[in-house]
Each structure stands twice: as C-alpha cells, then as structure tokens.
Symmetry: C2
Subunit: 140 residues, 2 copies
C-alpha cells in the first residue's frame, strides 16, 4: 500500500475503534499497511527509524492493535512474533516460514482444513494453524 493511502486507512481504522488516536498508533498501523508481508518488531523499528518510537511503546501499540483486531500476531519458530495489518483472516489460509531467514508470509491459496470434530475428553479446539516450513526464494 502507498504511504499516503496507508496513513489515511490507518487514521480511519484507529478512529473507528473509539479509543484514543495517538501518533504512535497511527504510525505503527500505517507501517504495517505499507508492508505486505508479516513484520517483526525489529523490522518495524527500522521502518519507523525516522523519528523513532520507543521500543516498549512499539510493543504496547502492537498489543493494542492486536487487541482491537486491527493487527494479527503470528508466532514463528525463531521465537520472534510477526505482525500484519488485519486485512485478511489469517486462520483460513496457511503460512510459510523460511527455515533459513525466518521470513513469514501468507499462502493465501493454501486453505486450512476445518477444526477437528473429535477432540480428547475435556479439550476444546478454538483455532487451527497450518505452517509450511521450507526455504524462501531469497534464501534458495
């Protein structure tokens, strides 16, 4: 998404929550919208380098965005979370995780199966994640 459009969309979505509209929230959501792929905390810090936002504030803003349903948190094997703007439902498709560089992306064309009908006694299924692991184009 273009810079200008990202800023406008971010402003509209943050306003729509009815919660406080702050520069950090606007800037972080716009940064997520500008990137297509899932971004780690570290990558976002770099994107926001000009007039940087505090490390902790960035964590808190990301939590808030996830809590508001404006962002998704994807956990990957390298123990670092990735975030995407909530343009899509991420429970309906699989995600790819590069074994080499840790990059994460949505495999929109790979659908996830439905929740398993039979669970062990007392267990309740709430969600399903399908992760394809391998080597990305950049690392091949």
């Amino acid at each position: 998404m273009q810079r200008r459009q990202a800023e406008q969309v971010a402003a509209a979505r943050v306003r729509a929550t009815g919660e406080r509209v702050t520069p950090a929230r606007l800037r972080v959501l716009a940064a997520l919208l500008r990137r297509g792929e899932a971004a780690s905390h570290h990558e976002l810090e770099r994107d926001l380098a000009a007039d940087a936002i505090d490390r902790v504030t960035l964590y808190r803003v990301l939590d808030w965005l996830v809590g508001q349903g404006l962002a998704h948190r994807i956990s990957s094997a390298d123990r670092a979370w990735r975030f995407t703007a909530a343009d899509r439902r991420h429970d309906a498709h699989a995600h790819f995780h590069c074994n080499r560089c840790g990059k994460v992306l949505c495999l929109d064309e790979v659908k996830t199966p439905r929740l398993p009908a039979a669970m062990p006694r007392g267990f309740r299924a709430e969600g399903l994640e399908v992760t394809v692991k391998g080597i990305c184009a950049g690392c091949a």
Copy 2:
C-alpha cells in the same frame, strides 16, 4: 512408561547411536520416556531435580538427542520448546497447544494433509505443521 523400563529403553537407544554413553544422556532420555506428553526444558529440570543436571548441559543433551533422532523438538507459541522421546513421527499428526497453560500434546488421530503441491516461485516446502489451539482439560 515405568521408571525401570524407561531407564532400560534409554540405555539401549543411547548405546545404539555408537556415541558416548553418559549419565546425562541416559537420565534425560529416560525422563522424556517416562513423561507421555511434550516436556519443556523447565519441566525436565524439575523432573531431574533429585541430583540435578546443569541447565546448559540439559540444553546440550536435548540438542544431541534431537540430532540423533532420539527426541523431537516442538516449538510453541509461548517461545519455549517442548521435547518428546522419538517414539512417533511428529510430522504426520497435529499438535494441540493450550492457550492458557501452554501444554502441548500429540493429536495422533488428527492427520496432517500432504505438502502443498503449488508453492510461490522459488519457494521450497520441506515440512508441514498443523497446530490446534484451544483450552486443555486441566484449564477448562
């Protein structure tokens, strides 16, 4: 698995690798065999509390067991790895992760689908993980 049997099986498997047979390797593998479910580093430390093993050694032994194919490493959303004795292939079935307590267990009856045939240009799929998230019996 019973304590006595776990020790015997562990001894046989460690010997069979042709590598050095050390007390730490025997004790850790036996601990994994005694537990049915996936165990975190922390849980294993507690299991081995009597005459404890060094924290770093435990990490190194777990790495070694995984490298030898005697244990599987399962990564979960709480950023702590879990380990199981390699009695089963863990790429063929789904895993359950409790959203509340972090417990992980094998859903042997839930089979994973085959690797997706079509991947984005330049991407190579090597493995597939299916994770069901929800609330476990203990947390319900």
